[in-house]
């Protein structure tokens, strides 16, 4: 197997929450807990999970916008976990990010041209005219008009703003693009356009994606491999086919079951996950999914399940992945997902 | 003089009792009251420090104004009388102790009268001016605001905006002067000053209401517009309540209630901030005496008035906030820094 483009090894990121008003209580919130991922060149790894499970923090930590508290990151064969800013700059050219909120990721006081040419400016690429031409080219490539470069972000719709963000991310011709919920803030019809755009760009520019979303259907559409994240830990990982047709972890199954099913006779009401995601301040000793899992047992409270391989690259972290039979109704709804 | 203080005290107690149902509410109220005391404390320290930082003591400064020299033995006697011989911190402690009992000593400009005595006699004038201004500016401000909202882009709307621009731009004392010149000097219709008959009220109230009209008009207009666009109004119309009367009752009630919260600080500001108007029109209220105290460097008077004013304004904000807290408990949540 070729060396992966991006690899994280036991990556951990935690935050200290201090209480104001002289309450010097310091609690630690572990946002990313010993995550192992790898992305091969030219492929897309999807990362799914609820809001608050730590996906964005993971993305930012990989980009070294947060400092990791543990573990390592390797990019294109190089250790970048502790690289100094100077050395990191050249790595940064190859690893770019598209953000969730399109308008927030653009400086509203700059013109589109200034925004897209910023990466070129930072790395001193080309003259002013050359940059201008490149901006025009990129704008056309993402589906906007070259004339738009004189306008301000506020004049565009959400979908168009996200296209601008994508154009900016492509300016440096990166190898890896981390898309942090790039379509979550957009209307459904616009989502489809942006997703298709991303797929086209992947072929044309030979990009690899880390595609983050809370929507497993969208993720499955975009990715060859999927990792499911809950409370900072990866609970299941495998290629898209395995995950969508044979999910083993109860959480994954619940995510799939939650996909709206148009045919009422085939709707599955069995697997219900209780409650909302909680903010954990003391990390659970057992399985993080304990309180919401429909099949939790005694052992789940004491022992943390490790990621174990079920079928080749398909790994699950659940004590009952081996023993449980697949609920036939889940199996049916899983197979419905066709692209 | 003490009657309003008792009233305020009663209001506070009432609010505390009303809010006692929820502990959070009580804590919020107590913290706000503590804040009030803190502000008063700081104001007193600042004004005390400033008054005593004038080199040579107050008498030299005042003498300098009058271009006289103060003989040594007289200075000694004056220092005795006003207790200026003791070390500064002791003076301050004495000041605070006396202040709590509302004893601010003797005025320097009127050596036979106590500061509190002066305030007691004069404050009713300020109160009258303030109340009249409040009534007038509410009528005009709210009226214009409603007219602007109900008939947008009409004469009323532009009139309202024009008036508010005027109020924003024109300093109250400039307006007062202009009024005086036009109506007293040139036309002779109105007296230049004093406060003995209703004719005396017109110009001061007009001049004093500028700021209030501005705030009220803008606020009312915005509030009315927001309410009129609200969904429940549209629902009412859809239900067939096309009778303007009924709609107005709905809209008015909801749009105008928030005004009450603006009204508190506004009223306080009116009573307090009228010293320009009082000076120009010779209305013997607290503001007038404050201005003359400044001119004659009458330190006890200056300090006492400062404290009273800060107290009034802070109380107004406090009561407004407490009322708000009763109505909308979200306010009591501690702010996340």
């Amino acid at each position: 197997m070729p060396e992966p483009l991006l690899e994280t090894i036991e990556l951990t990121k935690s935050f200290n929450i201090r209480h104001n008003f002289f309450g010097a209580k310091k609690t630690t919130n572990i946002a990313v807990d010993r995550v192992n991922l790898s992305i091969v060149e030219g492929e897309t790894l999807g990362l799914v999970g609820e809001s608050g499970c730590g996906k964005s923090v993971l993305a930012l930590t990989i980009m070294r916008l947060h400092e990791p508290n543990g573990g390592r990151i390797r990019f294109a064969g190089k250790e970048i976990t502790n690289l100094e800013e100077q050395a990191l700059r050249s790595v940064r050219r190859q690893m770019q990010m598209v953000f969730q909120d399109p308008l927030a990721s653009l400086d509203a006081r700059l013109t589109v041209e200034q925004i897209i040419s910023e990466p070129l400016e930072i790395h001193n690429i080309g003259t002013k005219t050359e940059r201008g031409n490149e901006v025009a080219r990129l704008l056309e490539r993402v589906g906007l008009s070259a004339h738009d470069r004189y306008r301000f972000p506020g004049e565009f719709s959400g979908g168009q703003q996200q296209r601008i963000g994508i154009a900016r991310a492509l300016a440096l011709r990166p190898k890896l693009l981390i898309c942090d919920e790039p379509v979550s803030a957009l209307d459904v019809s616009v989502q489809a356009q942006i997703l298709n755009l991303l797929r086209d760009l992947q072929h044309e520019f030979a990009l690899s994606y880390l595609f983050i979303s809370h929507n497993i259907a969208v993720t499955a559409f975009m990715s060859q491999h999927i990792a499911v994240m809950y409370l900072g830990r990866i609970v299941e990982i495998g290629n898209s086919q395995q995950i969508t047709s044979a999910p083993q972890h109860p959480y994954t199954q619940a995510l799939l079951a939650a996909i709206p099913e148009p045919n009422p006779s085939q709707r599955n009401k069995d697997l219900v996950v209780k409650g909302d995601i909680e903010e954990i301040t003391e990390f659970p000793t057992g399985c993080g999914f304990l309180h919401r899992c429909p099949i939790a047992q005694e052992i789940c409270a004491h022992e943390e399940p490790q990621l174990l391989s079920i079928d080749g690259s398909h790994e699950v972290a659940c004590h009952f992945a081996w023993k449980k039979e697949l609920n036939p109704r889940i199996a049916r709804s899983c197979i419905q997902i066709k692209f | 003089m003490l009657l309003p203080f008792y009233l305020v005290y009663l209001i506070l107690v009432f609010l505390c009792v009303a809010g006692c149902e929820k502990l959070i509410m009580l804590r919020y109220m107590l913290s706000r009251i503590a804040g009030l005391v803190g502000v008063l404390f700081i104001v007193s320290v600042i004004s005390f420090a400033l008054m005593h930082s004038v080199p040579g003591g107050p008498f030299d400064a005042r003498a300098l104004e009058k271009q006289q020299m103060v003989p040594e033995n007289i200075k000694r006697q004056l220092n005795e009388k006003y207790g200026l011989n003791a070390p500064v911190w002791k003076q301050y402690a004495l000041f605070v102790r006396n202040a709590v009992f509302l004893d601010f000593g003797y005025s320097m400009a009127y050596p036979n009268r106590t500061v509190v005595g002066i305030l007691k006699e004069q404050w009713s004038y300020s109160l009258q001016l303030g109340l009249l201004t409040l009534l007038f500016s509410t009528a005009v401000g709210v009226g214009l605001g409603i007219a602007s909202a109900v008939r947008p882009n009409s004469i009323f709307d532009y009139l309202g905006t024009g008036v508010s621009i005027l109020c924003l731009v024109m300093p109250s004392f400039v307006f007062a002067i202009l009024l005086q010149v036009v109506f007293s000097v040139w036309l002779g219709w109105l007296p230049t000053g004093g406060w003995s008959s209703p004719r005396h009220f017109i110009m001061p109230v007009l001049a004093n209401s500028l700021g209030a009209i501005l705030v009220l008009q803008r606020y009312t207009r915005a509030s009315m517009r927001d309410t009129m666009k609200a969904n429940y109004v549209r629902t009412a119309r859809a239900k067939g309540l096309s009778k303007n009367r009924i709609m107005f009752i709905h809209v008015f009630k909801n749009a105008l209630t928030p005004l009450l919260t603006v009204g508190g600080p506004l009223a306080a500001g009116l009573i307090v901030g009228s010293f320009f108007v009082e000076s120009i029109f010779r209305i013997p209220g607290i503001g007038f005496y404050f201005v003359s105290a400044i001119g004659s460097r009458d330190y006890p008077m200056i300090m006492a008035t400062t404290l009273v004013w800060t107290l009034i304004i802070s109380l107004a904000y406090l009561i407004t906030d407490l009322l708000y807290a009763l109505v909308d408990p979200r306010v009591t949540l501690v702010r996340e820094d």
Binding site: S105, G165 | V54
Partner: protein
């Protein structure tokens, strides 16, 4: 910059105000050359004169020409207005920026100070400070700076705090932008625009304060000419010498109107996001 100008010019009222201000500034600067008489020298044979051919706006109690004094008064008003705001920005912006960037105890401390100071009524603070410091041009500027930095500091701090979390700052770092680059390209422009608006709006406010304080005798002392001071001193003579108070009043009111409209225009022109009209 060009874009800003175009947007600004769309607002007719603001444009008129702008030219008025330019004219006034030119007049003020040129006052020593165009004033018909020396504003400090009184002609004792021509005291208390109402407007006539020799003295277009009349003379005051010492025989000084009112028109000349008004022209010089313009210099005072404008310089107090601009200088005080510049001083306030110079003090307030770094404090606010530091407070926002560093956070922690520094931020907490500064916020408490700001909270306390802002709960005191400004007029009172001005008066107390000026009584203690004594009347005078630089004392006035000092007093205004001491009370005024709070607003700007709070504004800047708020901007910095929201910028710290902004995605586009993260994006810039992700692209390899260094701290200095980010500050220059993103933070400065985002922070300075509200500050500029605040300064523009603060100038007429400062003029107002100066006029009010001078009126009370606490601002600019005689014999220097300040509009507020003139109104204050001659207010008692309004029956016999109305010209001594009316003309300064008119000039003051017009100037403040112009500055407010101008500041409004700047505020609207600077906001690249919305299309707000002035009448709202």
């Amino acid at each position: 910059m060009r874009l800003f100008w175009r947007r600004f010019c769309r607002n007719k009222l603001a444009l008129i105000a702008f030219w008025f201000i330019i004219a006034e500034v030119i007049v003020a600067v040129a006052a020593p050359y165009i004033a018909p008489y020396d504003p400090y020298k009184g002609d004792f044979l021509a005291t208390w004169e109402t407007p006539n051919r020799l003295h277009w706006l009349g003379t005051d109690d010492l025989g000084r020409d009112v028109l000349s004094r008004l022209l010089y008064g313009a210099r005072i008003s404008i310089s107090v207005g601009i200088l005080s705001q510049v001083a306030i920005a110079t003090v307030g912006v770094p404090i606010g920026a530091l407070s926002g960037l560093k956070g922690g105890w520094l931020d907490y401390g500064i916020m408490r100070v700001i909270d306390v100071l802002s709960s005191l009524p400004t007029i009172l603070l001005y008066i107390l400070l000026m009584v203690a410091l004594g009347a005078g041009f630089w004392n006035l500027i000092l007093a205004m700076t001491l009370t005024g930095w709070i607003g700007v500091a709070r504004l800047v701090r708020g901007q910095v705090l929201s910028l710290k979390k902004a995605d586009f700052i993260r994006a810039s770092r992700a692209m390899g932008g260094g701290t200095r680059y980010i500050i220059k390209k993103h933070i400065l422009s985002n922070v300075m625009t509200p500050v500029i608006v605040s300064i523009a709006i603060g100038i007429p406010g400062a003029m107002f304060a100066e006029a009010g304080l001078s009126f009370l005798g606490l601002g600019i002392p005689a014999p220097r000419a300040s509009w507020g001071q003139m109104i204050g001193i001659y207010q008692v003579y309004i029956r016999t010498a109305w010209h001594l108070t009316v003309f300064p009043s008119i000039v003051l009111a017009l100037t403040m109107l112009a500055w407010f409209l101008f500041a409004d225009g700047i505020r609207d022109a600077v906001d690249t996001n919305s299309n707000v009209s002035i009448v709202d």
